[in-house]
Symmetry: C2
Subunit: 294 residues, 2 copies
């Protein structure tokens, strides 16, 4: 085939969505409220985490969201971090709290997430919010799968009745992605390290979401002609960033996200929109509480 896949450009979609986010922030401020505020808890000195947190702060700034980073040494104790989460939960000036993962060795991320107020959990990773996603009335949905869903919708293809294959069963991406696609009517298969005959399974899919972090693993042999392919994988190789999807796929897929410029900008944009949502919910709740009784 000489036809090349159409590009599902995350950068331009993110930019368009950020215009709406700026409008929402402006509306909040023009009503006399403070701007939405996100606080990131960053423990340890993982270089990738430092880069991600910086990118999140810069994105917040560009849309008018205030952001703070609470930094902790990699020797910080569980109690210190628990205390930080408790204080941020109570702080009326904070709308969203994000615990940057992974935490340094010896710290228990689940126990920390258990203490996080679900109404400030803009990453959607507290058990309460995950449970609401499972029962289909989610409040906050993890940012990466939420961004992937928008990219799939960009293809203008109906998801309902389609076959979808999700590579990877992580809590941050694979499992919530499968639930979202299923909620939109797709017939979803999750493949992972124990799966057999993976190319054969993958070739049945109209929609493929790859989130395994193995550069170029998904070759043309895995893809049905015309499929929508979403490449979540990010691996740094020297000075470049490489996805899970091999370049040969662009000759066979119908739609394809680039790396970089695909899922990455959408993940950050969803963090922004979740933070604005948290702020709006707080304001709605406040206004409801102070409105005169009928």
């Amino acid at each position: 085939m000489s036809d090349k896949a159409r590009i599902l450009c995350g950068s331009s979609l993110a930019q368009a969505q950020q215009v709406n986010i700026i409008q929402a922030v402006t509306a909040i401020v023009s009503k006399g409220y403070r701007p939405p505020c996100l606080t990131v808890i960053l423990a340890g000195d993982n270089p990738a985490s430092a880069i991600y947190v910086k990118a999140k702060q810069s994105a917040c700034e560009s849309v008018g969201i205030h952001s703070k980073v609470w930094r902790f040494a990699k020797t910080a104790s569980q109690a210190e971090l628990m205390d930080a989460v408790h204080r941020l939960n109570q702080d009326q000036e904070i709308d969203g709290i994000l615990i940057q993962l992974p935490l340094p060795n010896g710290l228990d991320a689940d126990a920390l997430l258990d203490t996080l107020d679900p109404s400030k959990d803009v990453d959607g990773l507290t058990p309460y919010n995950l449970g609401c996603l499972l029962r289909r009335n989610p409040r906050f949905i993890p940012c990466t799968p939420l961004g992937c869903l928008d990219l799939i919708h960009q293809s203008t293809q109906d998801i309902s009745g389609k076959r979808a294959v999700v590579f990877g069963r992580s809590l941050l991406i694979g499992r919530p992605m499968a639930l979202l696609l299923e909620q939109y009517g797709a017939t979803v298969t999750v493949v992972h390290s124990k799966s057999r005959n993976v190319p054969e399974i993958s070739r049945q899919a109209d929609i493929v979401v790859a989130a395994i972090g193995q550069p170029g693993l998904i070759t043309a042999d895995y893809i049905k002609t015309g499929a929508i392919v979403i490449d979540v994988g990010i691996t740094r190789m020297g000075n470049s960033i490489v996805g899970d999807v091999h370049e040969s796929v662009s000759n066979i897929a119908g739609w394809l996200t680039p790396v970089p410029g695909g899922v990455g900008p959408m993940t950050i944009t969803k963090l922004l929109s979740n933070t604005v949502k948290a702020a709006q919910d707080r304001i709605d709740h406040m206004e409801k509480r102070t409105s005169p009784a009928c």
Copy 2:
């Protein structure tokens, strides 16, 4: 084929497990504690619900678990039920609380489950417990999928690497079942009302779990030779109970659960074991709190 599928008998597995449950209850009582206690909230006059609740009470009695039913008229208000859940949450004499679903029209089951203490949620349906299942450190798992898992294990076949197809995407069965099978290493596909080419998808599966409530829909045409077939469907037809799996499947499947006597007794048994677990956790927590410091 003249070979008949081996029967995965839920009745005898349930009986064997109930022997262990009786031992656990006896151990609790012999330590001087009261027996585990389950309270069911039953609102309205749905005849099927009345039958299920009676069966649960009778099963509790047979293993030494105390049970109570709090009955409400079908005109009961949301506030009345919320108040009941609050009181049961506080009551130290109650280990497990089960809200019998479906609730009468006009009542909000999700809002009611939101108020239920997760440590007493023996049905595993609060958002917190669902979220813990999604992140793979579940405390209470919904009873039917948990029972199905034990029946699959009865076949002594390794689940890891197998293809599994779950029919139905309900919160009570399909979605948690898919997560459990995936956790055990299966490659899982969930099919539902929007799915296409279902027999073809189903024929790829080594493990089929049918939970759609359409009598006899799953015919031999849906099943790969030698597959494990779990029939969750229960439809009352006249005086008999009929499953989702057609009788022709017994000539092609390797293992098959009967209806009745398959999944039903396992669901009730898992409610019993979850209730004992809730009681044991409470006792452990109490003993830990009162033990002298080292």
